[in-house]
Amino acid sequence: MSHKVIVPIGPYHPLQEEPEFFQLYVEGEKVVDIDIVIGYNHRGIEKLSETRHYDQVAFLVERICGICSSSHPYAFVLAVENLFGGEANIVPERALYIRTIIDELQRIHSHLLWLGLAGHFIGYNTIWMWAWKYREPVLDCFEMVTGNRNNYAMFKVGGVRRDLKDEDIPILKKAMDELNPLIEMLRGAISDDPIIKMRLKGAGTLTKDQAIDWCVVGPTARASGVNIDIRRDEPYGAFLLNTVDWNVVLEKDGDIYAKTMVRILEMQDSINIIKQCLNKIPKGEIDANVKDIPVGEGIGRVEAPRGECFHYIKSDGTNRPVRHKIRSPSYMNVASDKVAAVGGTISDATLTLAAVDPCYCCTERVAVIKKSDNKKIMNGWDLVKLCQEKTDKIKAEMLNE
C-alpha cells in the first residue's frame, strides 16, 4: 500500500519571502501531487484602480510588485495609449528609448536577484553573494536616473516623467560595460560546474506540451522551447523603431538548468539593448501632454522579467477607468508548478517551485504533511536544508570518485 505524506510549504516561500502556501503530497521521497493556495497577498488593486484617475493609477500599479515595478506601469500606459491607437502614435521617440532603458535595467536586476536566491537554495552561497553584489550597481543606475532604487515613477500616459540627463549616459554605459564580464563570469561558473549541472539538469522539467497547456509565459515558456517574447512579437518602446539588434533566447529542455541559462543569457541581451539605446537615443520631447482619455477599450502587453504582463483598460471618457484588469506573468507560471514539481523528489521541490521566479505580490506558502494521517512533518526551512544537503551529497560523491 502506498504511503502518502503531505508537505506544506509556508507561510512564506523559503525562496522569495512572500506569502504563499504549497501543500506537497509525497510518497516517500517522491512528490505525487501539489496544491497551491494563493490570495494571502490580494490587495484589491483592480478595484482600487477604478477609484483613481489615470495619472494616479500608474503609481498604484507600480506598487503591485517591487521587482517588476516598471513592467506594470508600462503595461498600463500601453493599455491607455492603445485607446489612442498605440504607443507609436503619441509618445515622443526619446521617451520610447528611456522607457526601454528602464525596462531592460529592471530585467537585469530581477534576473540577478533570482539567480542569487537560486544559488543560495542549492547551497551555493557564493553565487548568491556575487549575484546580489552585482545587482547593486544596477540599482545605483536606477537611483541616478529615476531618483529611486525601486518604484521608479517614470511612466505616464504619453511619455515619461523624468528626462535622462546627458551626463548620466556615459556613467550608464560604463556600468553596463563593467557588468557584462561579471555576468559572463557567473554564466561560466554555472555552466562549467559539474555539481550544479547534475543538480539542475533534468529537475523540475516542464515539457513543451505542458507549457502550452498551462499557457505559461516568459523565461518559463522559453526554457521549454515555446518561442514567445512580447518584445519581438508585439514591439514596444525602442523595439518599435527597429533600431535595436537582439535575439530571443530559447532553450528546449524545460528543466531548472534551462530556465537558469535563459535568464543569464537574457541579462547579457539586456545589457546589449541598453547600450544600443544609449548610443541611439535622440534629443527631443519626453512627454506628449495627454489631456483627455478617449472612450473605448485598450490592452497593453509588456515582456516583464517573468513573462507577458497584461493590462486591460475600459474607459468611458472620464478621468477614471471603468474596468482595469491586470494579469501578471506569475499568475500563469505558478499554476504550472502543479506539473513541474510532481514526479520529482522533495529535495528538488522547493527549487522547482522557485524556478519559475514566482512573484506573489503579483499573483503566496509550504509544509510537508503525511498523507496517511495528515500530520505535518516538515516546514519550509527544513526543505531548504534538504535541498542544500542534496547538493552537498553530490559534491561529496564527486570528490570521492
Binding site: H42, K47, D213, C215, V216
Partner: protein, 144 residues
C-alpha cells in the same frame, strides 16, 4: 492565409460582430452557447495562446472577454461574450480544454459570481475562506 481570414472562415456565422480595433487588436463577439467550440477552435486548431480572460459588469449584463494571442504576428484576438442574466449567470467552462484557464475562471467566479459549468475545481482562489457567500466584490451593485 492571414489569421483573421482563417478565424472568419473557420467560425463562419458564429461570429456576430467583428471589430478591427487598432493595429494588432481584434475583437469579435460570439454567442454564449458557442464559446466552448470557439475556444476549442482557436486554441487547439489554430494554436493561439490563451493570454487571460476579463469580466466586466455592464448594464447589459456580464461581459466576458477571452484574450487569445497569436504570437507570430503579435495580434491579440479578444472574444466577447455577453451573459445577460445577471441574477444567475452561467457559461461553459473552458478549463476542461486546457489547464491554463483554471485559475482565471476561479477568480472570475468569486469576483463576479459567474458560474463556469463543468469547471474541474471551482473554489475560491484569492478571497478569504470566510468571505460572505453571494457577495461579489467586482459587481457594480456594491456602488452607491
Amino acid at each position: 492565409m492571414d489569421m483573421r481570414d482563417r478565424i472568419k472562415e473557420g467560425l463562419g456565422d458564429k461570429i456576430k460582430e467583428w471589430q478591427d480595433h487598432s493595429a494588432r487588436r481584434i475583437y469579435f463577439s460570439v454567442d454564449k452557447k458557442d464559446i466552448y467550440r470557439v475556444v476549442d477552435f482557436l486554441f487547439k486548431e489554430l494554436g493561439l495562446r490563451f493570454s487571460t480572460a476579463t469580466c466586466v459588469d455592464t448594464p447589459q449584463g456580464l461581459e466576458m472577454l477571452y484574450h487569445f494571442s497569436f504570437d507570430k504576428s503579435g495580434e491579440l484576438y479578444s472574444v466577447r461574450v455577453l451573459i445577460e442574466d445577471k441574477n444567475n449567470p452561467e457559461i461553459d467552462s473552458i478549463a476542461k480544454q486546457f489547464r491554463g484557464a483554471e485559475w482565471i475562471e476561479r477568480e472570475i467566479w468569486e469576483m463576479f459570481g459567474l458560474n463556469f459549468k463543468g469547471h474541474p475545481d471551482l473554489r475560491k482562489l484569492l478571497l478569504a475562506d470566510d468571505w460572505p457567500e453571494g457577495d461579489f466584490p467586482l459587481r457594480r451593485k456594491n456602488e452607491p
